[in-house]
Symmetry: C2
Subunit: 214 residues, 2 copies
Amino acid sequence: MTSDAPAPAIRVALVDDHPVVRAGVRALVEAQDDLIVVGEASDAHSAEQLVAGLHPDVVLMDLNLGPGPGGAEVTARLRALPEPPYVLILTTYDTEADIMSAIDAGASGYLLKDAPPEDLFRAIRGTARGETVLAPAVAARLVRRSGPMLTEREVEILGLLATGKSNRDLAKKLYVSEATIKSHLAHIYSKLDVDTRAAAVARAIEQRIIRPVS
Amino acid sequence: MTSDAPAPAIRVALVDDHPVVRAGVRALVEAQDDLIVVGEASDAHSAEQLVAGLHPDVVLMDLNLGPGPGGAEVTARLRALPEPPYVLILTTYDTEADIMSAIDAGASGYLLKDAPPEDLFRAIRGTARGETVLAPAVAARLVRRSGPMLTEREVEILGLLATGKSNRDLAKKLYVSEATIKSHLAHIYSKLDVDTRAAAVARAIEQRIIRPVS
DNA sequence: CCGATGGATAGCCGAACGGATGATTCGGAT
DNA sequence: ATCCGAATCATCCGTTCGGCTATCCATCGG
C-alpha cells in the first residue's frame, strides 16, 4: 500500500573538520537507502549557513572543530534557528563535561566515533524521530556519575592550578583569602582522592575535568 | 605501449580503531584507480596478522588505537616483520613526542587527519616509493624543535610527579638522594619553563611527554 | 686527550604547602 | 522552619618545596 509515499529519506548534514571522517560518514550513510547526505561543513560558520539553507533533518556534529567555536556552541546556534535540525553528536571524546555541554546545547544524541556503523544508522533514524540517543558508554557514564562532581569554583581553581599558580596567586586572582583557597584545595583533594596539587592536576586532566591547553 | 603492465596498484592496509575513519579512508582511497585497500584492522593484534598475511605495500596507521599498544609500538612490530610494509601515520595528534616515537618506530611518513584527500593520496604514493613524507605542520614542528627534549630520567620523574609523589618518595623509589631529585626537578622546570610541580605536570601532559593515565 | 653532557650528591633557607579544626553567610531543597 | 552544601575566612603547625651554589664522576664525540 501507498507505494507513492515510500520512505521519505532522512536528510543528513555533516559537520566535521576532518575530510577523512566526512568521507567515511558519507560513504557509510549513503549506502543506506533511507538516508541521504545533503551537505558538509568543516567549520562553525559554514555549518550555520549550510543548515539555514538546506534545512536538514539531522546534523551529525563533531565536537572538536579545530580552532574557533566548538561543536557545542555550534549546536546551540543551530538549535536556535527557525525549524532547527536535530543534532547528533559524533565525536571521539566521552567525558562528562563534553557530554553535558552538548546536551545542554540541545543535542539529541551522543555517539562515539568508534561505534559500529549499525549503531550510527540506528542513532540517525532514532534522532530523526525525535528520540534521544546515547551511546551505551555515554549513558553509563551519566548514570554512575563516575566521580563526585566538582563545583564550578573548584574546577576554576583546578584550571589555574595547572598553570602553576601558588595559593597566594590564586587568592589574588579570585579576590578571596588564601584560607579560602586552601579550603577549596582540601575539598578538591578529597574529591579527587589525591593529596598534592601535582596529582590533582594530573587526575583532573585524566578525567577531563580540565583541558591540557594553555 | 605496454598495456599489459599498466599500473601495479599500490596495496594499502588500514589500521584504525574507528570504523567511520576506516570507511572514510577506504572510500577515498578506492576512488583512486592506482590504489586498492586490501584489508583493515582495528587493533594491534589483528593488525599484525593482517600485515603478515597480506603483505600490503603501505599501512595507514592511526596512533591512537584505544586500549592496548599504541600505533607506534605496532609500527615497530610491523617493521620488524619479514618484507615489512611502509608505514604511514595518519592521526589527529601532532606533538613532538608522538612524531618522534613514530619515526623512531620506523614510520615513513606522518599525516594529520585534517589533511585534504589529495595530500593523503600523494603521501601514499610517495611512501610506496620509499620516500619519507611529512605533513607541513609536522615538518615545521620538527624543525623548530618546539621544546628542549628531556632526558630519560627526567621523563621518568615527571611520570611519578603526576602521581603526587613527594621528593622523598621519588628519592626512595629511584634509589637516589633527595638532593638528586631536586636537581632533576630544577632541570625539568627550566626546560619546561615552569616553576612548580603542578605546572610541570600540566605542561608535560599537554606536550605529551607523559600520558594522563594512571 | 679534553670538553660537553647527563647523572648523582650536598647544605642552606625562606617561602609555600597540606592537615586539622572551627566559624560565618547565603541560598536552595525539604 | 529547617537542613545542607558551597563559599568564605581564620589560626596553628609540621613538612615540603624551590632556588642557590658547588662538587664529583662516567661517557661520548671530537
